[in-house]
Symmetry: C2
Subunit: 362 residues, 2 copies
């Protein structure tokens, strides 16, 4: 046994009988330790593709659901009941910490986050205050309950990364081209720094709340950073993501860092301080291994669209991901992006079992 | 003078005094010949960002505008009047040839192409007939008029590539994830082949019409192919794009091949037979040079969002693109994607002149 038992002072990751969560395949793979099978979870496993989710959410707006501990707990647990996944992902939204510090925003069905007053000047930036744990007491409560309910299954906390949060705040909503955000980043470095600095503080505080309440790992989602060229990433994004990842590194939980379309950025996202670099489906995992410096595990990367093909195809593609994943120092199986809304949950159930079997036989 | 004058039997690219279009910086750069300055054009230079375009299009639906020679000519010429660009791009839409062979479709403002009956089975595929030049007589007429009007400025014809056309037909409209298209591609190779084969024939016919009428270069747009992983591209997309590019290779006009988010595919898109590989802004041109086999020119790749930054930033970024472009055997300056709708045309005018001056001084 390479990881000591009870090494956390506050014991927040707890023990179940003699098993600590440090010994679970998911946490071990994140730490690049040997595992009995490749661990599996799915981005957006808790959400739109599950009928029981759609029932629970029926009349409840997204941000209200994200603020109710009972719903957070229920929705986080739903996929764990269906699938033999190796981790649960905390049900929330990347906009939750911004809402919690008083940003006027709504999440509109079919649209996404819409911000009342987009931030485009220094006055706007200065209105962004820091996040206190008491601003998100519902998160603490839900995480604590979940850790008890989940038992031997690790809970992944998460937050949006500063660039992606900045994009929503500057554009005022979802954006295809992020032109206002980039114009600020390219042309107003002073303002950009001030904005990113504040978002960094908020992100750190939000992740700490989750880890302090018992989350076993943290994923920093930089959903839209794939639209940024490598030089710009290095100059204008990496310093902030690094500060987040370093700050939560003190908490001694594995840190996963993921964005879509980040083939050009994988090495830099590793440099930013991730323990696990998430890879979308465009870059085969054995190629991702070449792009990321040693000392990192990888997460990914089945194309979520594959799940719409016949099972034989799903199986063949999943096997390919498992095999390529073995070239990494550690591998967490996932999709290359979130579960698509029309995905058949039964295929995800079958896929989870298949990855366990296939990797267990290797 | 390295290119012979009058070398085309039908003389369709004509001469203006003693100048043939083969001697223009744009055509020479495509052919990797020395140029007095880096040639410039902008994807979507004819379109949404110009007030005169919005006036002309005011009450006229997109597909109607694309079928009226007077409007095609006017809209294609509008940016040429404003900017000192080195090429004009034929005003059309990638859906035009599909409409011309009887596919029931509309282009809805703010949405994009919407297909009446999405194609998802062999019966649907078999309804796709070939394109005859008489189906697009308005294209022939408009190209002929334009070639006369443009004089020394080359006209670029274009078409959507088979994968991107297939995506619209299978999904029934624009799609974020292309899941139905990919499910077909991954899981129904027989049906996929039949569909792609027919789209290849249509694309070849549509490009030939434009070259036969006098277009000096052809761009094959595979807008959405960046969502496909390299192995799948090689297996399920490249053979068809290659057949298009080889077929139009007989016409002896430079062939440009472009898609967004294609960092992983640049080498393969060159292999498909392009003379010029278009690069989006995520991959610096000197890195693209390393990914594309020798014997190709590159096109690109200023981030269109840069145009929203202060002029000093635009200039610095454009200079960087010009310099990196000099590592390629030939370089056509362009944006890394289409002109964004809110772009200030005056910035494009200034940018064109700057690239000419900067590259002319080198």
């Amino acid at each position: 046994m390479m990881t000591p038992v009870f090494r956390h002072q506050d014991g927040r990751r707890g023990t179940i009988g003699t098993v600590t969560l440090d010994d679970t395949p998911f946490i071990r793979a994140c730490r690049r330790l040997p595992v009995p099978h490749t661990p599996v979870w799915f981005m957006r496993q808790a959400g739109r593709s599950l009928p029981e989710y759609r029932r629970v959410r029926a009349d409840i707006p997204m941000l209200e659901a994200c603020a109710r501990p009972d719903l957070i707990v229920e929705i986080t647990l739903q996929p764990v009941r269906r699938y033999s996944v190796d981790a649960a992902i905390f049900f929330s939204d990347i906009m939750v910490p911004l809402k919690a510090v008083g940003v006027e925003l709504d999440i509109q069905p079919g649209v996404g986050p819409v911000v009342g007053q987009p931030i485009r000047d220094i006055e706007g930036v200065k209105r962004l205050r820091g996040l206190e744990p008491t601003d998100v007491g519902f998160v603490t409560e839900a995480v604590r309950t979940l850790v008890g309910e989940l038992g031997e299954i690790p809970l992944i906390g998460f937050a949006g990364a500063p660039f992606t949060l900045a994009s929503y705040l500057v554009e005022g909503g979802p954006s295809k081209n992020h032109e206002r955000t980039k114009a600020l980043m390219y042309g107003r470095p002073d303002l950009w720094h001030e904005l990113m600095d504040r978002l960094t503080d908020i992100t750190i505080a939000f992740l700490k709340v989750q880890a302090d309440a018992g989350a076993s790992a943290l994923q920093l989602f930089d959903s839209w950073v794939g639209s940024v060229a490598p030089d710009d990433y290095r100059r204008s994004v990496l310093p902030y993501s690094r500060r987040v990842l370093e700050a939560v590194g003190e908490l001694d939980v594995p840190r996963i860092h993921f964005g879509v379309g980040t083939g050009e950025l994988l090495g830099l996202m590793g440099e930013a301080g991730a323990d696990v670099v998430g890879v979308d489906w465009r870059v085969p995992l054995d190629e991702a291994v070449r792009r990321v410096d040693p000392g990192k595990a990888l997460q990914g990367n089945l194309d979520p669209a594959v799940l719409f093909a016949p099972w034989e195809t799903v199986r063949e593609r999943a096997r390919d991901v498992v095999w390529r994943g073995r070239t990494a120092e550690g591998h967490v199986f996932n999709l290359g992006h979130g579960v698509l809304p029309d995905t058949d949950p039964d295929v995800l159930a079958r896929l989870t079992d298949f990855v366990h079997e296939e990797s267990g036989r290797l």
